[in-house]
Symmetry: C3
Subunit: 248 residues, 3 copies
Amino acid sequence: MNESVSRPTAADAAELLARVRARRPRVHCLMNSVVQKFTADGITAVGAIPSMTSSLDEIADFVARADVLTVNLGTLDAERRHVIRIAVDMANAGGKPWILDPVHCDYSPGRLAFARDLIALGPTVVRGNRAEMALIGEVRASLAIETGPVDHLSDGSVQVTVENGHVWMAGVTGTGCLSGGVIAAFLAVEGNALKAAAAALATTGVAAELAAPEARGPGSFGIAFLDTLASLSADDLLKHARIRHATA
Amino acid sequence: MNESVSRPTAADAAELLARVRARRPRVHCLMNSVVQKFTADGITAVGAIPSMTSSLDEIADFVARADVLTVNLGTLDAERRHVIRIAVDMANAGGKPWILDPVHCDYSPGRLAFARDLIALGPTVVRGNRAEMALIGEVRASLAIETGPVDHLSDGSVQVTVENGHVWMAGVTGTGCLSGGVIAAFLAVEGNALKAAAAALATTGVAAELAAPEARGPGSFGIAFLDTLASLSADDLLKHARIRHATA
Amino acid sequence: MNESVSRPTAADAAELLARVRARRPRVHCLMNSVVQKFTADGITAVGAIPSMTSSLDEIADFVARADVLTVNLGTLDAERRHVIRIAVDMANAGGKPWILDPVHCDYSPGRLAFARDLIALGPTVVRGNRAEMALIGEVRASLAIETGPVDHLSDGSVQVTVENGHVWMAGVTGTGCLSGGVIAAFLAVEGNALKAAAAALATTGVAAELAAPEARGPGSFGIAFLDTLASLSADDLLKHARIRHATA
């Protein structure tokens, strides 16, 4: 394995953020209804173009125009499951990357079973918190990410940690979902999923660190986080990104 | 009646807020789609854990894990009515408190009729504005709350007013719905509904008063309100809560 | 044609904003789920009263009580199409103005076809961006608005431009949808659609210009925009509104 290719660095993060801003990829999100605007604002802030419809009649048209797909399992019902399967099949057929966010699969056995069905379809990335990823179990043939105070990324052979972020992220509903959308934007411009995801998580994590001193609590933190995502510079990433490596 | 138990004070509010932060109750919300994130952020700000799904396939799993239920009647359709009935039956069977927020029942006779059906199932609290509560009529065997410039709480024998709040709350969509979620969080840690609800309304009202001087208008007020909810101290409540009593 | 009636000025904008604040019209919105709260907050900020339900069971009750209707085509499915048709038929039968926002009709042929079906029903205003309006084609018997860095309004005989706004509006999801809701509020108090829409777009555009110096990025800009919408004075409009005319 060529380490210089597979092991992401702060310089990679800076280069990939610039690439997202230059190419402006389209990110289609099957996003839970709670955080649609916050996620769309975050995707826009890094320079990508979000879309959000989850209607059965239109999903094919929107996925066809997208460069990457985010599947977030909030508010699942039978029709939404059907829409997700159509979207995933289209992404796979078109060779487009997609990310699965099995949010709250630890609350509902049905949601967990559906998450496992989707993982069998080969997502580029699965991202969850510790409780969710523990239930998901082994994720084969894709990149697994456990986010938390430290984010753990593993593609089966290489393990990477991203140690950026701020405790206030947990006080704002949707920061995890937003980071899933930002990972998707980076996947659209970089074929190495480990490098793309590490760069995206360094971007959101450093933005959170720079936002915290501007904020007085979770309300103003969520706003400052969007501001810093939009203004984050290459120097900010080179100076603050903490991406570490360990062979599995 | 033991006055020291049934008549809530500012000290009770401070003690119950500390209890919410220590126990971190789970609050499941059947919330209108407009204000899901704002309500979730408010519930998180007081220290509780929100969840929001309203899908028929998953409602039982989520209510089973929750400590308390919030039923908000925005955007009603046949499926949502069915989901609400399942959730309420589960809450009642499990002895869990639940609050009904008959939002805009004055706009739609069908919504009003459904609100009355739900009241017959015995909510722990019904909270509405003046127009809504006037139509609801007598609320038996539960706590009725009419929110407004002054909040009026009545359990049939004791009447309490909470005189906190700020006029800018009416300029931010969802402050009433958010306060319903906060009342739910307090119901989860205190069996005396009158005391729990008065403490919750003092908490949101004092937070609004402390937020207003930080704000320039309704946008920044909504943000500052979340900040102050998260940072509110026992001293803030002891100093500013205005809870008054009058025997019915 | 009487120019003093048909050609809107900054003074008209100031007068109509005052009229909205005095009359507080009810604006019912069939709004995509992403930006419901942001749009409701914007409508409230200019002094009108928003409602948002899109359930089949309740749409008639809500449109009956509204002064004006906004139809936004995000997240379309079969039931939503049905609800929109009921709402539009009621608005037409009641002589109430309505505005169509064919958002993202350039992404989906089905959405474009539905937008054209609705235009045949005679909306008071159709508002879209350049890509959307190019596909919509000729809009007969109504006011067409293409929003962008400069807004172009045409009622078939008179063309007006509104040159207010700020580039950061494109960084906040929903500013276009919000401006559709504000146009609706102005249509409710002024029968001349060209004058109402020009006044509404000058209001949102000047608010954006005054908000930008208060902001550090798209997060704080969205918040400051709501603040300035709520505090905008007649003097602000008289001083900053740039409404120009050209006969077609």
